[in-house]
């Protein structure tokens, strides 16, 4: 007998053995008999008319099996890549939604846009043939920045999308905000850029597709965070394959961060091609290919204004943002800078009036979609930056200003003026905890020590909240979601009492195999090692929406909890029969069914055995078997949040910013496995630190070339960039999820950019620096210092 390992314990992860010994099973590891290799030919131009494609030489190259292009897609009558969200402007006019063909038709709209697909016996042959494909491009001027894209005379991506504006979206009470601004004692203003990011999971995307003519079944192995959604979108809307003839498998996936939660054209092309060539086709992206095809994140230009009364109380907040969508609408694209942004502008504050206007803009860049945090880091950055600006301008301590405006713990549930209602939270508690954990009271000593070395030290705060656990379907539907976002789980109890769970979320680093097993172990009293979690295969798992938006534990875990409850209910019925007692008198505790007030018990294994190998079984009232399924749709988002405190040191000679301390005290609700939660926080924080200090996707205006197109040019945080972080939790329980969980996958990334930049600005504030755009590179800091140290010109 093994051990029950329950909620709150920190067992070592089940998945580690295979990863540590090189025995993971990633898509690129898979080989199929007769497998061919596919290579995508991508547009080298940001914007170009495709006048024609001459396939002759490529088709004649050694080993080539097929060369497919947009014409073939059109001839086969295949659908456009669907967008999962439809947003509207203030008048209710739906967003402009031009088709997103899986292979470009007529025009290429970004560097990396797929123009053709070459299938050959080997990858080398496919690459050689791809070089021979003759595409006749008429190169057009590109527009890559949002400010440039909406200017009159800018290059137009689509004939029927004037000024490249997909949607002019708004949220909040504009008039109330205007009234409040008129009464304000002070208005803080800030213009900022939220830099464009590239997610860079360490495993590049890959896919293999196979068609079995004998059964007319298609199988796609894909590096996906949501195989069922791929099956649904691709089968039903793009390739017209019935769901029962299409299997999508997402095996071990090497990190996602949102990048792998979209239905990509590559998946559709490969599945279609495998059927056309009647052989398995495999494609593995190179890192460079990923840079120009993985969906990018962020990329906002924003102007914000915060109105305050004479005591520093926030009266109103007004935000205008231009958000880059790239060349087409990706799966969640228009949802991110709108629904996942505007409703977060209340933050942890009691601001009574908020208005947000977002112009969603097409440009000649890779489509932009969700990247860890998705909309919420952008909102947090705007809000937490402007709070610091206001504090400085009004001469109020930054912490004090936050305190004066924070929602007190007792005021929850709290209805914000921007749709969402926070169910629980304690921002002041998180702040107080973080102040102690970060040893803020001795900061002055550390700052003086830095000064003695000629360095500037700064401290930055970010007190924030996010909305996750995507998503309450009814609410999401009102916002424009074209499908519900519930989750499902099946608990299959085997005749000998072991358990296999089939769940619709996808584990790509989050430790689900461990966390979910703890939930089952806790609830059913089954030994931890006797529980396996199955995910990522549409043939094995009923249905599910996958993993994104910190939803796996919140929504998937809730479904799992419900399904285990159903197992207990049925187990009690069986126990009642075996123990010859009333079902009402059966208690279940610590893996045993017993008759209340007696010593008559049956173990979980005995009940499982009786369920499957019935002899004397009440078949007339109870079906055999012990397997239960549950679907769960949350009634609200969950609202994790907390307080992050960053401490940086700036070398004024080189402009280098070094993160020297980082403290996070987060409210993630109930913690199932503290080891895994801490790991999620560490990783999330560092992705936010990456945005603040290192990462930047840079395009060349005009040509549309991505200048930061490799790991040589796009700076990922490395071990020697970082200090040891202090992370802790200060939890209030979510009031509407079964276990009180709130989710922890994105909090780190949402809280950290503002904390880091606030620390950088603090370090330089004595020089009159009031804002630093991200990433705060040495060059950028040096430039600011150059300007700051210039003597004031005499008028």
């Amino acid at each position: 007998m093994g051990n029950v390992i329950g909620i709150g314990a920190a067992p070592k992860r089940k998945e580690d053995q295979r990863f540590l010994t090189g025995r993971g099973n990633y898509v690129s590891d898979i080989k199929r008999p007769g497998m061919t290799a596919g290579v995508f030919v991508r547009s080298p131009h940001g914007h170009a008319v495709i006048r024609g494609i001459d396939k002759t030489a490529a088709l004649a190259a050694p080993g080539v099996i097929a060369v497919l292009s947009g014409e073939d897609v059109a001839a086969d009558g295949l659908g456009s890549l669907p967008c999962g969200w439809g947003i509207s402007d203030a008048q209710g006019v739906p967003m402009k939604e031009p088709p997103f063909p899986m292979l470009a038709q007529g025009k290429a709209r970004f560097v990396g846009d797929m123009v053709a697909f070459v299938v050959a016996e080997t990858a080398e042959q496919a690459n050689s043939a791809a070089e021979l494909l003759n595409v006749d491009y008429e190169v057009l001027p590109s527009v890559v920045g949002v400010l440039e894209a909406v200017r009159p005379g800018a290059p137009q991506l689509f004939d029927d999308v004037p000024n490249n504006i997909c949607c002019d979206w708004e949220l909040g009470d504009k008039a109330a905000v205007e009234t409040a601004f008129r009464k304000a004692a002070h208005v803080a203003r800030l213009s900022l850029v939220n830099n464009r990011l590239i997610g860079n999971p360490m495993e590049p995307r890959a896919a293999i597709a196979e068609y079995e003519p004998g059964t007319d079944r298609h199988t796609l192995w894909s590096t996906s965070q949501f195989p069922h959604v791929v099956r649904f979108l691709m089968g039903a809307l793009v390739l017209n394959i019935p769901q029962h003839k299409l299997r999508v498998v997402a095996p071990d996936v090497g990190g996602g961060f949102g990048v792998k939660q979209f239905h990509y054209g590559e998946e559709a092309v490969i599945t279609w091609a495998a059927r056309r060539v009647m052989r398995p086709v495999k494609w593995v992206a190179s890192r460079s290919e990923g840079y120009v095809s993985d969906r990018h994140g962020r990329d906002h230009v924003t102007e914000a204004e915060l109105a305050l009364d004479e005591h520093g109380k926030f009266l109103a907040f007004r935000v205008k943002t231009l958000a880059n969508m790239g060349g087409y609408l990706s799966t969640f694209g228009p949802n991110i800078p709108t629904n996942l942004y505007g409703p977060l502008l209340g933050g942890v504050y009691t601001t009574p009036a908020i208005y947000c206007n977002v112009k969603v803009v097409f440009t000649n860049t890779v489509p932009v979609d969700a990247y860890r945090g998705a909309g919420r880091p952008e909102a947090t950055f705007v809000l937490e930056r402007i709070v610091d600006v206001a504090a400085t301008e009004m001469g109020i301590d930054r912490v004090e200003l936050r305190r004066r405006n924070m929602i007190p713990k007792e005021a929850y549930p709290y209805q914000t003026p921007v749709l969402v209602q926070y169910d629980s939270g304690d921002p002041i508690g998180c702040l107080d905890g973080a102040l102690v954990a970060a040893d803020v009271k001795n900061f002055g000593v550390r700052k003086a020590a830095s000064a003695r070395k000629g360095k500037f030290r700064g401290l930055g705060y970010s007190t924030y909240v996010e909305a996750c656990g995507l998503a309450p379907s009814r609410f999401a539907g009102r916002l424009g979601a074209r499908g519900g976002l519930y989750e499902s789980a099946t608990v299959r109890v085997h005749p000998t009492g072991q358990v296999t769970v089939m769940i619709g979320t996808h584990n790509h680093g989050q430790g689900h195999e461990t966390t979910f097993a703890q939930i089952v172990s806790d609830k059913l009293g089954v030994a931890f090692e006797n529980i396996d979690i199955v995910f990522g295969d549409t043939d094995r798992v009923q249905f599910g929406m996958g993993t994104y938006g910190s939803r796996s534990l919140v929504v998937g875990g809730a479904a799992l909890s419900k399904a285990t409850d159903k197992v207990i209910v049925k187990g009690k019925k069986i126990a009642a029969h075996l123990l010859e007692a009333s079902e009402m008198d059966i208690q279940f505790e610590a893996g045993k069914f017993s008759v209340a007030g007696t010593d008559r018990t049956k173990t979980f294994e005995e009940i499982a055995g009786a369920a499957y190998v019935p002899h004397d079984y009440p078949l007339e009232v109870l079906e055999p078997g012990l397997e239960e399924q549950a679907y769960y749709d949350p009634v609200n988002f969950t609202y994790p949040g907390g307080c992050h405190i960053a401490e940086v040191e700036v070398d004024p000679e080189t402009g280098t910013v070094t993160l020297v301390n980082y403290t996070a005290v987060d409210d993630v609700g109930t913690v199932i496995n503290p080891m895994i939660v801490e790991g999620q926080l560490h990783g999330g924080i560092v992705q936010g630190v990456g945005q603040a200090l290192y990462e930047n996707a840079v395009y060349d205006e005009g040509s549309g070339q991505l200048l930061s197109g490799s790991l040589m040019d796009y700076c990922m945080p490395r071990a020697d960039h970082l200090p040891m972080m202090t992370v802790a939790t200060h939890s209030t329980l979510c009031t509407h999820t079964p276990m009180g969980v709130k989710g922890c996958g994105e909090v780190g990334t949402i809280g950290s950019p503002a904390a880091v930049i606030n620390a950088v600005v603090d370090a330089l504030s004595h020089l009159g620096v009031t804002h630093v755009d991200m990433p705060a590179t040495p060059n950028r800091i040096w430039r600011l210092l150059q300007n700051a140290s210039l003597p004031v010109a005499a008028e």
Binding site: Q17, G22, G199, P204, Q687
Partner: protein, 161 residues
């Protein structure tokens, strides 16, 4: 051309096209898929293996370099021979939650083993510096650094036994 080398303790002889990367050879022909390919600019370190005891990036190594050499991959790493146990460094990664998605892990572990072998009593700064050629996107490195320090201690303790 024909090359002969020792692969995870076993003598191996095979015909290779010289224009083959060792990472491809391992993955495509030898079915040792624990060695991962995460980039094309020799930056990420997911492909690190030990060539004659030294960590090298197998994605930037041509197959002829194996001729006469000894190669150890993540699959060849183990605890006491015959014990079917993890190597102390692998064990330390598990104990300290030094991995999440697992993709960078083989390269991290191979780099860490070489780093620890060279230097007993690794400091945090030495570990962070020693990992500069290995990128992880999941962990924020904190638990990797702790794993490497613990694994190094365990390796040297085992040696001392």
């Amino acid at each position: 051309m024909q090359i002969s080398f020792t692969l995870n303790g076993r003598p191996t002889t095979m015909d290779v096209d010289p224009a083959t990367l060792v990472a491809e050879l391992l993955r495509e022909r030898l079915n040792l898929t624990g060695t991962h390919i995460g980039c094309d600019t020799s930056q990420c370190g997911a492909c690190v293996v030990h060539l004659d005891g030294l960590p090298v990036k197998s994605c930037t190594l041509l197959a002829p370099a194996l001729d006469g050499a000894t190669l150890v991959t993540i699959e060849g790493l183990q605890g006491a021979p015959g014990s079917n146990r993890l190597h102390p460094m692998q064990e330390a990664f598990r104990e300290n939650h030094g991995l999440q998605c697992g993709f960078c892990t083989p390269g991290m572990v191979m780099t860490a083993v070489a780093l620890a072998r060279d230097k007993p009593g690794l400091t945090e700064a030495e570990v962070r510096h020693g990992l500069e050629g290995n990128i992880c996107r999941c962990t924020g490195y904190q638990n990797i650094v702790l794993s490497v320090m613990a694994g190094a201690d365990a390796m040297h303790a085992a040696k001392g036994e």
